[in-house]
Symmetry: C2
Subunit: 417 residues, 2 copies
C-alpha cells in the first residue's frame, strides 16, 4: 500500500469520455490498495476561453477577478471526475483550493503556494476516500482565489504530494515520458527511464515543454519522485499498475540513477535573438547599467558574453533575449545610451539555442569539445556558448536547428538503445 | 442616496456585450449616488450545459458535486461583471457565496439560505465599492458550495436585499414587468404598475414565470420592495434612473397600493391532469391513505374536491397532478388500493387551470359568479373549482385555455387602460 498523487492535464480531461478514462486510471490504483489524491486541470481550451473573456471585459484586468473567473475551469473538472469515480463505485469527493486550504501568497495570477494542510485529506484516505483536487489554485491571504499561473496544476500536484508525503507523484500528460530529445526532430529519440531533477530542470527551462519548471524545482526541493506518463494509454493494459516500474519517465534524485550516462538529452529553444553593444567603456558598473533597466522592463536576458578589449579601455557585450522582446530591449537600451556609453548597437533574430544536458558531465572532460567538433564538421557556426556544471548551451543560426539537434543527439550516442 | 440590489438573469449576462450593458445599468445607479450590490446568474445556457455534464458523469449524482460544478457559472459572470465595471471606472469586486458567506442548510441542490453576514459588504459600500455577488449559491454547514435550485438567483437577490436592508431590489429580466396576463395569449394585457406580494405569489406559482416563487415568499416576509424590469432597455434612456417611479412593476406590501383593483391578473397553468377515485369508503383517514403515499413519491397534488355521497357511506375524491406525474400517481394509488378501498380510478390529461387573482376580492362579492357566468356564455365546461381569499382557480379542458384567459381578462376590465 502506497500513497499516490495522480495529475491529469487539460487534454486528459477534455470531455466526459476522457474524464471517464481518467476515472479508470484512478480505479486501477485504488483497486491495487493505494491511497490516491487526484489533481486535475481545466478541460483543454477552457482556460483560454475564460482568459479571453477577462481580457474582453477589461484589458487592464484586476488579477483577483481574473483568478475568480479562470479558476472555475478546474472547479468543473474536479466535480465531474468525483462524479465519474462515484459512478464506478469509488468513494471520492472534490476539493477546491479554498476548502483544503492550499494557502498561497497574494500574487494573484502567479501566486506561490505557502502552505497546504493535508491532514483532512489523509484522514479521509483512512476512510477509503479519493481526493479529487482542483489544480492551479489556492486561497490568498485576502480570502480570495489565487491562481498559480499557466501550467500551475503540475505545481499543485507536486506541492500536494509533498504535503501528504506521497510515495510518488504521477503526471499524466499527452506524451508518454521524457525523451532524449524532441522526437518530432529526431525520430531516433529514446524515452528515458529516469532523469535527475537537475537535468529535468534544464530540459524543462530549455524548451522541453513536458513539465512546468516550478513544479520540477518543487519536486527537487522536497524530493518528490515524479513520473511523467501518458493518460492516453489503456488504463488496464499490462504493467500500467506496476508500482516500481510503470511505463513513463521517473524524475528523481540523482542518487537513484545508478548508471548515469554522460549526456542525458538535447534540448533546444527557438526564437532567440542576440543583441550586441559595441565599444563600451570597460569600467565597473557597466553591466549594471545595461541589465538593470532590462530587468526592470521584465525582459529575460540569457547567454551573456563579454569580450575583454586588448587595451582594457573598450569592450563588447553580447547577450540573448526572446525574439519577441527585441524591440522592447532595443528601446530600453537606446533610452539609457548616455548612461551606458556604447558606440553602436547590433541585433540578430531567428537564432536557436541548443543545449547538451547531463549530470555525468561533472565527472567527464571533453563533452563540450565533442559538441564543438561535431557542429564544425557540419559547417554550423557557433555564435555564443554558455556552460554550467551539467549543461552546455550553444547559440546558432535558426536554419541549422534540426541538423544541430540530430548531430548532437548522435555524437553522444543517445540514438543507440 | 439609497441602497439598491440589482439582479440580472442569464439572458442579461449571456455574453460580454450583454455584460457590458449590465455594467451601464449599474453605473447609472452608482452615478446617482446609490450604494449597489449586484447579483448575477450564469450566462444563459451555461447552467444547462453544466447540469448535462453532471448527469453524463453520473446519473445518480452526488448533489454536493453537482453543486460544485454548477455553481461555477455564476462565479464566471460575477468576475467578468466586476472587470467590466472596473473598466468603466467603477470600484467593484466579485463575491462568491462562500466568501460573504451566505450560509445555507445542507440540502445540496435545493438549499435554503439560513443567514447572510452583510457587514463587510456594507463597510465597503462606505468606501464606494460595488459588490458583485454570484447568485444561486451559498456555503453549506459542510463547508461546501450549496446551490439554491434552479432560478435561485432571484432568491439570492431578495435575501441579500433583506440582509443589507436595501431600499429596493431590482430584478432585471427579459420582460419589462408583470402583466395582467400572458401577452402572448392576450395582446391587450397591461403591465401592472404595482402588485401585492400575495398576488405575485399566486401569479408566480400559477404559471407566470417572471420570478421564482421562493424569492417572492422571502420578499413578502422581509417586506423587500422588489421591482421587475427589463435589462434590455437602454440603460441611459430617460426615466431609467427614476428612483420613485422607474419603468417596470413594483411588487410590494398591499398597503402601498392605494387604489386596489378587484382583480389584478389572470394566470394559467397548462398540462394539468385530473384523477378521480370513485366510490370510496367515506371514513376518517381515507384522505391520509390517498395523499400520504403520493406525497412520499414527491407528487404535487393540487385542487382537491370531495363529493359527499347521499347516504354517507361512499364518496368520490377528485384532484389534479401535473400531467407528467399521472402514470407515477396511478401506480402509487393502485399499489395502495387495498388500503384506500376505492372502486374504480379514472384520469384525464390535457387540462388547464385558469386563475383569477386579486386582493380586492376579499371585500368584493360576486367575483366568482362573474367568472362562471362568462365561461358558461362561451360554452366552456368547468371541471373543478378551488378558491382562496384572493384567487379563484378553475379547471377546464386544455383546448379552451386561450379563450378562457381572454374571456376572464375582459370580464374584469383588465384590457381597459
Amino acid at each position: 500500500m502506497a500513497r499516490i498523487v495522480m495529475k491529469f492535464g487539460g487534454t486528459s480531461v477534455a470531455d466526459m469520455d476522457r474524464i471517464r478514462n481518467v476515472a479508470r486510471h484512478v480505479k486501477r490504483e485504488v483497486d491495487a490498495g493505494h491511497e490516491v489524491a487526484v489533481v486535475v486541470s481545466a478541460m483543454s481550451g477552457k482556460t483560454n476561453e475564460l482568459v479571453a473573456w477577462t481580457r474582453d471585459a477589461s484589458p487592464m484586468h484586476d488579477a483577483r477577478e481574473y483568478d475568480a473567473v479562470v479558476a472555475s475551469g478546474e472547479q468543473v473538472t474536479s466535480g465531474l471526475l468525483a462524479l465519474a469515480l462515484q459512478n464506478i463505485g469509488i468513494n471520492a469527493r472534490s476539493w477546491q483550493g479554498w476548502q483544503i486550504p492550499i494557502k498561497t501568497d497574494n500574487a494573484h495570477g502567479a501566486a506561490r503556494i505557502l502552505e497546504i494542510d493535508g491532514s483532512e485529506l489523509i484522514r479521509r484516505f483512512g476512510e477509503g476516500q479519493v481526493a479529487v483536487i482542483a489544480g492551479f489554485q489556492g486561497l490568498g491571504p485576502d480570502n480570495r482565489i489565487a491562481t498559480l499561473g499557466r501550467g500551475g496544476s503540475d505545481t499543485s500536484a507536486v506541492a500536494i504530494a509533498a504535503a501528504i508525503k506521497a510515495d510518488r507523484c504521477d503526471i499524466y500528460t499527452d506524451v508518454d515520458g521524457v525523451y532524449t530529445t524532441d522526437p518530432r526532430i529526431e525520430p531516433k529519440a529514446k524515452r528515458l527511464k529516469k532523469i535527475a531533477f537537475e537535468e529535468m530542470l534544464e530540459m524543462a527551462s530549455l524548451g522541453a515543454k513536458v513539465l512546468q519548471v516550478r513544479s520540477v524545482e518543487l519536486a527537487m526541493v522536497f524530493k518528490v519522485r515524479t513520473f511523467v506518463r501518458s493518460s492516453f494509454d489503456d488504463p488496464d493494459a499490462p504493467g500500467m499498475g506496476d508500482f516500481l516500474n510503470p511505463p513513463g519517465t521517473l524524475i528523481c534524485d540523482e542518487e537513484e540513477i545508478l548508471e548515469q550516462e554522460v549526456v542525458t538529452g538535447i534540448a533546444y529553444a527557438k526564437d532567440e535573438a542576440q543583441i550586441s553593444l559595441r565599444r563600451l567603456a570597460d569600467r565597473p558598473g557597466v553591466s549594471a547599467a545595461i541589465f538593470g533597466p532590462l530587468a526592470e522592463s521584465h525582459i529575460n536576458v540569457d547567454m551573456i558574453v563579454q569580450n575583454i578589449s586588448e587595451d582594457g579601455s573598450k569592450t563588447d557585450m553580447t547577450f540573448t533575449v526572446p525574439s519577441t522582446d527585441v524591440d522592447k530591449a532595443l528601446k530600453v537600451l537606446n533610452d539609457s545610451k548616455d548612461k551606458i556609453g556604447f558606440d553602436v548597437i547590433q541585433n540578430e533574430s531567428g537564432l536557436v539555442k541548443v543545449s547538451v544536458i547531463g549530470i555525468g558531465m561533472r565527472s567527464h572532460a571533453g563533452v563540450a569539445a565533442s559538441a564543438f567538433r561535431a557542429l564544425a564538421e557540419k559547417g554550423i557556426n557557433i555564435k555564443a556558448i554558455t556552460t554550467s556544471e551539467i549543461k552546455i548551451s550553444i547559440l546558432i543560426d535558426g536554419a541549422y536547428a534540426e541538423l544541430a539537434v540530430r548531430t548532437l543527439h548522435s555524437v553522444y550516442g543517445l540514438d543507440k538503445s
